[in-house]
Symmetry: C2
Amino acid sequence: MPDLLDVIARRASRYAFAADPLPDDVLETLFEAARWAPSYGNRQPWRFVVARAPHVLAAVQATLTRGNQYARRAPVLVAMAADPNDGQIREGREYYLLDCGMALENLLLQAVALGVQAHPLGGFDEDGVRAALAIPAQVRVLALIALGYPADPATLDEDTRERDARPRRRKPPEEVRAFDTWAWRESPD
Amino acid sequence: MPDLLDVIARRASRYAFAADPLPDDVLETLFEAARWAPSYGNRQPWRFVVARAPHVLAAVQATLTRGNQYARRAPVLVAMAADPNDGQIREGREYYLLDCGMALENLLLQAVALGVQAHPLGGFDEDGVRAALAIPAQVRVLALIALGYPADPATLDEDTRERDARPRRRKPPEEVRAFDTWAWRESPD
């Protein structure tokens, strides 16, 4: 059995992108992975719009917030979008978001498996992305995914290089899983 | 490189659970996979509460809707829960749900890698799950995950066996990914 946990542990949101384009078959494999995610009632609410034509890519790049300018170097930006009405809503829980998270994680892990760098981000002007990609008003843009091949972090400006080099941190297991009752150890920090 | 796409393609929500308990190290590996999911601003809103003590498990089983009675056979039911305020909210997009989807997908794929059967479901009485596991009122219960080892589908009642045997279907790629503009082929069905 392949060591999936190693793929999961190696997945990280890195900042340095090479200019090289992504071959079509690589892109299609990423969407193939996303497509097989589960969803509530098999509603499959996720939609992915690839921005890669130069004028379209530029229009999407223009929507990035100040903290996400690194994503301008990526040769492809993918908008993950969904119509909330395409997903199940149960007791106020809007499952289109959860379903899209599952599809996104498949895509991100598949990227690791293919040596592709994928960095999902939420800092963009949503109306701007809608305008750039002709996305209807009722559809929510949930993430942009910067996609490309990795580059040397030395090519980054100092601030971004520092962010890129930060070790990945997670809460310890005792703070995210419990047995038979809601009881958590407090974090020491 | 391991064939991740094969793991993704083999993941399925199956219905027949064996009574055998899950070893602790298997459970912990599932949560380890979930723990390393990405989240908006690294907020890690996911919490997992394992129901396995007999009286607790029975109380959670009692919350299952009619269509989810198969999950009574699972030796473990895990509640995935989150406080919406623990996640980022941006322009009304509630990222705790998307983040929890990513963590859940990691768990589901890791289950495939370990030969564990995992079936996430949304059909439960949320207040009932909160009461059974002492989950605070502001925390949303997003899914129950039935966990166990697979059993022979012949042990299922006829209706459930039919559901179990249904082939997995997904929209074709042309309906979920597009290039440079929001444009989709209509489904023939």
